[in-house]
Amino acid sequence: MAVREHKCLLLSSFTIDNFAGYLSNAPYLPTLEVVTLPAYDNVIQSLLEYDNRVWNPKPEFVIIWSTPDRVCPSFRKVMDYKPVPDEVIADEVKEFADLVIEAARRTGQMFIPSWVIPGDDRGLGILDMKSPLGIRRALMKMNLQLMESLSSVPNIYILDTVRWMMLAGKGAYNPLLWYMAKIPFSNEVFKESVPDIKAAMAASLGLRKKLVIVDLDNTLWGGIVGEIGWENLRLGGHDPVGEAFADFQKGLKRLTDLGVVLGVVSKNEEAVALEGIRNHPGMVIRLEDLVAWRINWQDKAENIVSLTEELNLGLSSVVFIDDNPRERSRVREALPEVLVPEWPGNPLLYRKALDDLRCFDSITVTAEDRKKTVLYQSEMARKKDRRHLPSLNAWLKTLKIKIRAEELNQTNLPRAVQLLNKTNQMNLRTRRLSENVLKKWADQDFHDFWVVFVEDKFGESGLTGIISLEYSGKSAVIADFILSCRVIGRKAEETMLAFACRKAKEMGTTEVLAEYIATPKNKPCLDFFRRSGFVSKPEDDLFRWLPENEYLFPEEVTFLGTNE
């Protein structure tokens, strides 16, 4: 299947071609069609020209990379040590922010690298952060104001240029490139920026990694627990290696706040390894932080498959970290979809290697993300419970599943957008929309959009489903049919269809249509529709239901209705 190119428009106040080249050629997803403008210093002009052809078709990504003096004329005076009242600069920043906000209405995600000046420019030296004439003082205020002005706009993200300059080192600014080509950064800065920007884009498209599986011995802690006992592991304490392992664990734990879950696959005696996890005082990762583990002597690739299947996750959402190059090689070969990063031999570099991965970015962090481990653990408790029961339907009845629907509103919008843009498997048409676009779509009279909440005796799974309808003549077309992999197979699918058919009937339509659009990952959705009772011609991907026949709600589920 051909990889789709996403349109990315670059607006810049300097020569941007080198950056455009790196961005186009970066070998990782998403693949981009990078559009640059022939005119130099084109930011303000392009933001004002709504009818310029570069805005049509609508760019999915826009990067606005400017230098502060080109968008805020007063900053030029600041650079000449001329006094400029703070309010004057603030007004100019606000003017720029307003233009950006207006443009954000007609684009997908927008990324704005923060303003910087070359490190070589010392400004007023020791007074630069103190005096009202200080260049860096003014610049910091400008960046802060820009961030505050844009923070409430959901599809605009300010990115940290200073970080890229620090990574690029002493040569971040190259006077030769500036004077000969009007490029204010060395190519090293551009090279550092590309992975961050692509990570942000991947996050917005739902391509982020969701599960980190780590080995134990010499990966999560120093030493081999089965040989030296947990008491003698190097972890924490006043020991550089022990501290480095603890820091690596802190880095992993921090990922869980972004909605990433942690698992362990290790060749060990399970009882011995778990004793180490439970008892070692230096452990930052506790047993409850792990969503699942496979600690045995079997092949690690098989264990990874088994663990991801248990969690209903695809292998492409997995990162596997192991200090042993043979194990890495085996997993890479057996499971090419799994990201297996090269791993440093020195534990003091583990945390840096983790931070360098840049594949866990999220465009929003919801309360549900922060408790994702608990949600997965509840799901696994359900599965364990199921093993003791004779049939699926009998087991489902014992779960006391309750499902309710809500219309789209300001409170559920961020999570709805996240689910819409992240769900791959149970997704009928895989529409990817920004908050603005989704809200506009849902507000239209001939569209209905609901989010679906699922809970059972083990706890709440939260907002885990989306069903939307588009009315066209006598037909109701299912625009979105989306269910988180956490609740697949618990009759939420049938409940959502029953609800949609009931709504379609109330609207006076005579047929409900569901067109399946294939992606490399959404075959589970096709399989569901084939057994759903909706009819289609053999090998056809258009499914149909006549609302005159009632589509029954599953008896294993209590449908609580909507908030209407």
């Binding site: 020569t15 071609d17 080198n18 080249g21 790196y22 186009s24 050629n25 040569g171 190259n174 030769l176 490139l177 000969m180 080509a181 190519n187 090279k191």
Partner: protein, 100 residues
């Protein structure tokens, strides 16, 4: 300062070509061959590409020789034919201006 060898010069140019190719579209990438045309008719680099080439080369040569290297001074401008025509002519030019 010691004069750098012909092999070193070609290796440095090829390393710079690798760096330029990271920015160029797949069908415009430069081959690492002494015959590869750089500037002028049929050359693989536009004006910005030439700037990138010169800046990267100057940096690498300066670092190796421990002294500032300027590839576009009068010596380059006074050549009968451009020293930037091909990788081969560029290599000869660098050889001619590098210190004994």
């Amino acid at each position: 300062m010691s004069k750098i060898s012909d092999i070193d010069i070609i290796a440095i140019i090829f390393r710079v070509i690798d760096e330029l190719n990271e920015m160029l579209p797949a069908d415009n990438r430069l081959a690492k061959s002494e015959d590869t045309k750089l500037a002028g008719p049929g050359g693989g680099l536009d004006s910005l590409g030439m700037v990138n080439l010169i800046v990267a080369l100057e940096q690498k040569l300066s670092s190796l020789l421990g002294d500032d290297v300027n590839l576009i001074d009068d010596r380059a401008m006074n050549q009968e034919s451009s020293p930037f025509s091909t990788i081969g002519t560029l290599s000869e030019f660098i050889k001619s201006i590098s210190p004994e």
